[in-house]
């Protein structure tokens, strides 16, 4: 019996000792939790990089931004992708996965920027570091809201200074949202450094000024566009990418322009803000934009977003930007494509895929492969979101709007000079719009431009089948389609505090 009691008493003591222990149930994650983070400047920067990262996904500048804008008169999806085919005919589904992911990605930018803005001011780091970190976060917040407002209209505004606990708030008006965006970008202007002082690849004072100019022109605040673009231009930090400083041949102009989209121009001062590209290193991450634009015949490109004749026919014959922008079957078929078909074989003959109805592909983004060779999904090139030439043209537009034809010539000609084109004089708004189309073809500006210019109905309702395989798109309703429908999942997740846009 003694053994029994020994075993029993030991057991009882052990049972009681552990049963009383609250510690037994107190298990914390071993990995980082929010309360352990935000201690060092490096951590704060890693938190900030998280806000940049959504720009690099498939649902944003990897490809979905172009899906949205297949509605434009410059390109269409060009592949049998049913939901997008319907989309570009303005029969818009609200359940397209990419668009919901895009929505989430952009709100992630806002949320993660907000985390930086909330945590960084109390950290034990230098004021310079604080300014840079919060300045970039302000820029990203403003930029993300701007991306959303151009697609959807006014957005809910969250208080980033307090950890958001109430996620269910309704939309602000377009005016309130624009005011909020301006406020964020102005904060960024105040806190950020100019190009060459600021870290490469990050938002600079120039990014903020350029973005602010664009935000202002969307509100037709032309004086302010002039005011802020002046600060940008006069800072002396920013210039167009021009390997041939004074191009006087077609080839030199071509090189100047195509160069902007090649890895060599990554984070040059013209790229006021760009999605960061990188060469394939085996690590995932980085935009896949290049492979998305590659023709399928060229070693399995994804063959999306085919230019339509309306775009390619609009270029003047001597404009090298046409050659740099598109491949056209039968014209200039050489695509210097590194090691294509074996080492040392650097020429690929452009042949559109059988299913390509326009026999054209965009070259701009795909062209990075001519330098790097096809390695994987990722090209080494940055994808520009805001270029200096874009701001030059915004400035020109503001000048013409305020001061009439010819007032914008100087800015338009800066853009033309780079590609070796003759200067123009007494340029009208119509000419400005064309210049903008050529300079920024395929760069996600055209659709939003024609919407804000109120030109869209005219264009879509009067397009012929020769200009665009889709022909006249009379389903376009300028009132309804001035914004896209908010993804249904976003509305559901908001417990319907988020109101759908009218008529959707």
């Amino acid at each position: 019996m003694k053994t029994i009691y020994k075993i029993l008493s030991i057991t009882i003591v052990l049972v009681i000792s552990q049963a009383c222990s609250e510690e037994f149930l107190d298990i914390k994650p071993e990995g980082p939790v929010e309360s352990d983070f935000w201690q060092t400047a490096d951590q704060a920067d890693q938190g900030l990089l998280a806000a940049y990262n959504p720009l690099q996904t498939e649902a944003t500048y990897g490809r979905a931004e172009w899906f949205f804008t297949t509605t434009s008169d410059d390109y269409w999806v060009g592949r049998n992708k049913a939901s997008i085919r319907e989309w570009e005919l303005f029969n818009m589904y609200t359940d397209i996965d990419y668009y919901y992911s895009h929505w989430q990605d952009f709100w992630s930018i806002i949320k993660r920027s907000g985390d930086v803005l909330r945590n960084v001011p109390d950290m034990d780091i230098t004021d310079a570091e604080k300014n840079r970190l919060t300045g970039e976060a302000h820029f990203l917040t403003g930029f993300a809201y701007f991306n959303l407002i151009t697609k959807y209209g006014g957005m809910p505004i969250y208080d980033y200074l307090n950890a958001p606990s109430d996620f269910y708030i309704s939309r602000s008006s377009t005016e309130e949202t624009y005011a909020y965006i301006e406020k964020q970008l102005l904060e960024a202007v105040n806190k950020l450094q100019h190009y060459s002082i600021a870290p490469k690849g990050r938002a600079t004072k120039g990014s903020a000024l350029g973005m602010l100019s664009k935000v202002l022109i969307y509100q037709e605040k032309y004086e302010e566009v002039i005011e802020y673009s002046d600060v940008l231009f006069e800072s002396g930090y920013y210039e167009l990418y021009k390997p041939n400083s004074d191009p006087d041949t077609f080839e030199e102009g071509y090189e100047n322009y195509i160069g902007v989209f090649q890895p060599d121009a990554n984070n040059c001062s013209e790229q006021l803000f760009a999605v960061q590209g990188k060469a394939w290193t085996g690590t995932t991450g980085g935009p896949i934009t290049s492979i998305v634009f590659m023709p399928q015949n060229a070693n399995n490109g994804w063959n999306y977003f085919h230019p339509v004749p309306a775009l390619t026919n609009s270029f003047s014959a001597d404009d090298p930007r046409k050659k740099a922008t598109v491949f056209i079957k039968g014209e200039d078929d050489d695509f210097p494509y590194k090691d294509y078909g074996g080492a040392g074989n650097d020429i690929y003959l452009y042949t559109p895929d059988e299913t390509n109805d326009t026999d054209m592909n965009f070259k701009k983004f795909a062209h990075a492969y001519s330098v790097e060779g096809y390695i994987n999904w990722e090209g080494n090139n940055n994808i520009s979101i805001l270029r200096l030439s874009d701001v030059y043209l915004l400035r020109a537009e503001a000048e013409i709007e305020l001061n009439g034809d010819g007032a914008g010539d100087i800015w338009i000609n800066l853009v033309r000079e780079r590609v070796g084109l003759e200067p123009i004089s007494n340029a009208s708004l119509v000419q400005l719009k064309e210049e903008r189309r050529w300079e920024l073809a395929g760069e996600l500006q055209r659709y939003y431009d024609i919407i804000r210019w109120d030109d869209a109905k005219d264009i879509f309702h009067n397009t012929t089948i020769d200009e665009d395989p889709r022909g006249a798109r009379t389903t376009f309703d300028p009132i309804k389609h001035s914004v896209f429908p908010i993804p249904i999942n976003a509305i559901n997740a908001s417990k319907e505090t988020l109101e759908q846009n009218p008529m959707y």
Binding site: A19, P32, G277, N380
Partner: protein
């Protein structure tokens, strides 16, 4: 379907329902036992036990009972003692029992002898009879049906003298003393002791031991007799498991139990199988809790079915609530084989060898048919057909890809078991090996098992024991069914004019044009299926160990304490290699390795008191326990690319030239529990059970961490009532049962819901790859267990003396606080859903199990059938009952319907002519032509858009059934097992690319029936490359009836008679042949109608929200086996 579990049983159980053959087989075992009888029968109980006792004027009988209570002696006495009118008084302190007894009996005509721990009291006259040193006693031993029993052990108690009955049940034994007691024992019968007295010829009738044959069912933390059960428990015994050799335990359960449904996720050997008890009760894991030898396990696929003694499935709340917060999906208790209690020494060897083949091929186009289809499709679109289809190369069919990737695959199993009992210790030792090639080339599964269980009786009060099970298994080959990837998908999509290898012996790819460009537009981005199978590598290696030690102490009569401590270790390593793919089609320039390792450690300590009390007609069994458990998992992940060196298995990670990605972490949780159960039986006919468990988990916030899970059940054994007596010949047993209780489910897939955790990723910063961190989760302090309230009403009935057994149950199970991954507004920044307790779901079902068995002379048969009817309904969901969508949006779960409904457009027919087409186009603004689908405008808004998608049925069966037929004649046995489902729909998603010419891959021959003006009576739309009407969108066209009836198993065996095998030293020899999945009756067009959930289990999305979507999943094989069971 209750099955018997016999305790105190040695091996060779398969034929227990055929007692005669069993007996003969046992002879050998008994003979072996005899060799150690000597050890067993020696006097081991001290005769010097001293007690203190004070009695005044009590009857002799009372005095004896008193001594019996105070000691471990048991008394044997007859009527003379009871009749004795003497009253005795005694008062002694610390005296030996012998002295006390002498004192008590001194003035009576009674005398006693002490034999071992037994004391036999008889009249003095009897015990002083003449001693004849060569007294020979003989007789016959019969069972209660008058059949002789060979092999009965007969021992002269207190001596080493013994014998066994011969084949005719006769015995002869020489004894020394006619006051001796003879003990007749035989397994399965009540041991009988006889005082010899004056008898010379003693014929004995042994009664079947109901205590043993009574089915003792393993329930949580203890066992219970079947007749005392008031809840709903299904049991599968070793004999059931052995009758159908399967590679894993989970498969053995399929179709065998009412209410237990097994959903296969593909037939690749080693694949996980999902077991569901009473339906899908959760959107998360619906896996039941697996308890193996008392320890919770996440996965039972590594267990050797041959090691299992019994599986109990606790189905209703009353039975399962002893496991509280983890029992919501039912509990599966697995007990591995232990040593026997009787002295024995058995060795068994079971083995089989078999071959598996594909049971059904898809009919695909040959090259010329393919050319016709694509040519006609272009013509239908008004285009000029591609002249390529008229050229030379595509005219020739070179390959049947299904023939290339499927094979006749072998499998082999060998199990070796040794069970031994020596003195007060018993051991069970087993080794197992299983190896199965998959019917898809390069797939294989093999498993090694080792088990050692032992029990040791230290003394009459203390038992110690241990269990140790170790397994190592490896699954290789990529049998996944990912679209665009791997052999299975590619074998359907790859064109028939492509040869497997090119002239230089490399894998062929898609043909190229004159410029060297792959003809992807005509052939698709498809990889060589054989290349996919051979070059892609996948190996999952697992090592598992479960071990525990326990001590059980009897504190005093009826009260036992058991402390049990142990742990499980499981290590898993997953290796993947993705090759360079040089050939055109879907090439890949860089190869890649991925390695994942998981190391799980779990320890558990339980302390349980059990108390049994019998007072008059009242019987109480109680348990009271405490348990603590802690789990931790470490995992690492590494991805690396561009290998400098490769080998046949892919390569090793340190030959990679670039690190792609690394990850890893630790997951931990702990749980503290208290539980108790009271079973009360009055007069063996009114049964009650009360259970309460309290669990506290580290996962939940403090206020929510304790959960209480009570249950109650009651049963009435109507057949025990006096009024029932007249019809007892017809209805021998009738029990009605009812139960109600609450259960919890804490399998929420995350361990730290109340912490805002930092997620991380890799991003690009100025051309460099950098790591970033972000708040990935939003804390939820309100999170708590899912709660299941379940009501069960049941009936157990036996008719015609047990020839027919019937069990029926109706249940209603409501899951409340259902954890739903709620999508937070994107501003929350949470990249994942947040789990909230917001849903509600009901499962209502009816279960029936019916057994009929009969033995007529040498012929015996039994038929067991089970039927489960189940209805699932979602009652509420999150965010204003917003529907949930499964992966790839095939399925939607919404309120008011069963979960996981296929969700798409409804095809109302095919447009038959231009007039119909014009009407349709005018109305809906579409581009349809004759031969296209008409999609139904469900909401009548004259637009066909996503608002017109509707529920199109679901993959949850309305009913499942199994039918098991056993026939036996002498040594022959035949088992036929059928299993089926009804009311099941499946989506044949492979038809999305096999039935439409718009995708450039090979097609099903069914496409030849496509609509044309001359072939209008068809449901296949016209051929079109453009598919301007988007006929290929997900619609009712893909939803098929997937009911099936499957002949799962036919076994024909022969057991050799003992006479035939004893000369070669065997105690048992059975040979059998078996066919598995020989026939399947189904209308389903895919490879296999058994689909289950086919989407990745590792994804954070809930795979139970996408059931029954067939994307070309690994089909179940048809197998033939030859097997042997040998006992030594």
């Amino acid at each position: 379907m209750y099955k018997k579990i016999k305790t105190n049983k040695i091996v060779l159980d398969e034929n227990l329902i055929f007692p005669k053959s069993l007996r003969t087989m046992r002879i050998i075992v008994v003979l072996l036992m005899l060799s150690i009888v000597q050890l067993y029968a020696t006097d081991t109980y001290s005769q010097d036990v001293k007690i203190s006792i004070k009695l005044e004027h009590v009857s002799i009988k009372k005095a004896i009972e008193k001594i019996e209570n105070l000691t471990d002696y048991s008394f044997i006495y007859n009527q003379v003692v009871v009749d004795n009118k003497n009253k005795v008084s005694i008062s002694v302190v610390d005296k030996p029992v012998k002295i006390i007894l002498e004192e008590i009996l001194k003035n009576t005509n009674l005398s006693f002898i002490m034999v071992d721990s037994q004391i036999i009291i008889s009249s003095k006259k009897q015990l002083t009879m003449v001693i004849n040193p060569s007294l020979s006693i003989s007789g016959t031993v019969l069972d209660n049906e008058g059949i002789t029993i060979p092999g009965v052990t007969i021992v002269e108690v207190g001596t080493s003298n013994g014998t066994v009955t011969d084949f005719d049940g006769n015995y002869n034994i020489n004894i020394t003393n006619n006051s001796s007691v003879l003990e007749f024992s035989f397994i399965g019968f009540i041991t009988k002791r006889v005082i010899i007295g004056s008898q010379i010829n003693i014929n004995i009738v042994l009664q079947e031991d109901n205590e043993i044959l009574d089915e003792v069912i393993v329930v949580g933390y203890s066992t219970i007799k079947k007749e005392d059960l008031s809840g709903s428990v299904a049991v599968l015994s070793a004999e059931d498991l052995n009758s159908t050799p399967v590679s894993g335990v989970d498969q053995a359960l399929q179709g065998r139990m009412a209410g237990v449904n097994v959903m296969n996720s593909g037939g690749q050997p080693g694949n996980d199988v999902e077991i569901q008890v009473r339906g899908v009760g959760s959107f998360g894991s619906s896996k039941p809790l697996y308890i193996v030898d008392g320890f919770a396990m996440d996965d039972i696929s590594t267990i050797n079915p041959g090691d299992i003694e019994s599986i109990s499935v606790l189905k209703d709340a009353a039975s399962a609530s002893i496991y509280g917060s983890r029992a919501a999906n039912g509990v599966v208790i697995i007990k591995t084989k232990t040593g026997t209690n009787k002295d024995s020494f058995d060795i068994n060897f079971d083995s089989y060898f078999g071959v598996s083949t594909l049971s059904k091929k898809r009919n695909l186009l040959n090259a010329q048919q393919r050319n016709q289809v694509f040519t006609q499709a272009a013509i239908n679109d008004g285009e000029i057909p591609n002249p390529y289809w008229d050229t030379e190369y595509p005219q020739v069919t070179r390959t049947d890809w299904q023939d290339e990737i499927f094979r006749a695959a072998s499998m082999y199993k060998a199990d070796f078991t040794l069970r031994r009992s020596v003195n007060n210790s018993n051991y069970s030792f087993a080794l197992g090996y299983f190896n199965q090639d998959g019917i898809l080339i390069e797939t294989n599964y093999n498993r090694h098992n080792f088990r050692l269980n032992s029990n040791h009786k230290i003394n009459d009060k203390i038992t110690v024991g241990q269990n140790l099970t170790i397994s190592k298994d490896t699954k290789t080959g990529r049998g996944e069914n990912s679209a665009g990837r791997y052999a299975l998908w590619s074998s359907l999509a790859m064109h028939p004019d492509i040869s497997v290898y090119d002239e230089s012996g490399n894998f062929s790819g898609v043909p190229v044009d004159e410029n060297g460009n792959a003809r992807i537009d005509l052939y698709g981005e498809i990889r060589n299926p054989v290349g996919e199978a051979k070059r892609n590598k996948l190996a999952v290696d697992r090592f598992n160990a479960i071990g525990n030690v326990f001590v059980e102490i009897e504190l005093f009569k009826g009260l036992k304490f058991k402390t049990d401590i142990g742990g499980t270790y499981s290590g898993e390593e997953e290796f993947m290699y993705f090759p360079v793919i040089p050939e055109p089609g879907s090439p890949s320039d860089v190869d890649e390795i991925q390695n994942r390792t998981y190391t799980d450690l779990r320890w558990q300590w339980s302390n349980v008191l059990t108390y049994n009390l019998e007072v008059g007609k009242n019987r109480i069994d109680m348990i009271l326990g405490q348990q603590s458990e802690r789990f931790s998992q470490e995992y690492t992940y590494i991805k690396a690319t561009d290998l400098a060196f490769t080998n046949d298995n892919g390569g090793v990670i340190n030959s990679a030239q670039t690190i792609g990605d690394i990850g890893g972490g630790v997951e931990e949780w702990s749980m503290l529990s208290y539980f108790g159960r009271v079973n009360y039986a009055y007069n063996d006919r009114y049964l009650f059970q009360f259970t309460l468990r309290a669990d506290a988990s580290s996962i939940f916030y403090l206020n929510e961490s304790w959960g209480y899970f009570p249950s109650v059940s009651a049963a009435w054994r109507v057949s025990e009532e006096n009024f029932f007596e007249p019809i007892k010949d017809i209805i021998s047993n009738l029990k009605v049962r009812g139960s109600f209780g609450e259960l919890g489910n804490s399998q929420i897939g995350q361990n730290y819901p109340m912490y805002a955790q930092m997620g991380s990723g890799w991003g690009i910063d100025n051309g460099d790859v950098t790591k970033y961190f972000y708040e990935s989760t939003v804390p939820n302090y309100d999170l708590t267990w899912e709660r299941v309230r379940q009501t069960d009403i049941g009936l157990d009935m036996s008719l015609f003396k047990g020839k027919i057994d019937l069990t029926a149950d109706y249940y209603n199970k409501i899951t409340d606080d259902l954890l739903i991954p709620v999508e937070l507004p994107a501003i929350s920044g949470s990249s994942e859903y947040q789990y909230q307790n917001v849903g509600k779901m009901r499962n209502t079902g009816f279960e029936l199990a019916l057994t009929y068995k009969e033995i007529k002379g040498d012929f015996r048969y039994s038929v067991t059938g089970n039927l489960s009817v189940l209805q699932n309904e979602v009652l509420s969901l999150s965010n204003n009952d917003q529907a949930l969508f499964g992966s790839a949006n095939y399925c939607r779960t919404s309120v008011g319907a069963a979960m996981s409904q296929f969700f798409g457009y409804n095809v109302s027919g095919i447009i038959q002519n231009d007039d119909e087409a014009n009407l349709y186009n005018e109305k809906y603004g579409t581009n349809a032509v004759a031969g296209d689908f008409m999609f139904e405008d469900v909401n009548g808004d004259n637009v066909i858009n996503d608002q017109d998608k509707i529920d199109l049925g679901n993959a949850l069966p309305d009913f499942t059934y199994g039918l098991n037929i056993n026939l036996g004649y002498k040594g022959f046995d035949l088992n036929i097992f059928l299993q089926g489902t009804g009311g099941v729909k499946s989506v044949n998603a492979t038809n999305e690319f096999l039935m439409f010419a718009s995708s450039p891959n090979n097609k099903s021959t069914d496409i030849l029936d496509a609509w044309t003006v001359n072939n209008t009576q068809t449901d296949v739309p016209r051929l079109s490359l453009e598919d301007s009407n988007n006929n290929a969108r997900f619609s009712s066209y893909f939803v098929e009836d997937a009911d099936y009836l499957r002949l799962r198993n036919v076994t024909f065996g022969y057991t050799f008679s003992d006479k035939a095998i004893e000369s070669i030293g065997f105690s048992k020899l059975r040979l059998y042949i078996q066919g598995q999945n020989l026939l399947t009756f189904t209308k389903y067009s895919g490879w296999d109608p058994e689909i289950g959930s086919t989407f990745s289990k590792n994804s954070s999305s809930y795979n139970s929200l996408s059931l029954g979507v067939d994307r070309g999943q690994y089909p179940m094989a048809k197998s033939f086996l030859f097997g042997i069971n040998v006992g030594f």
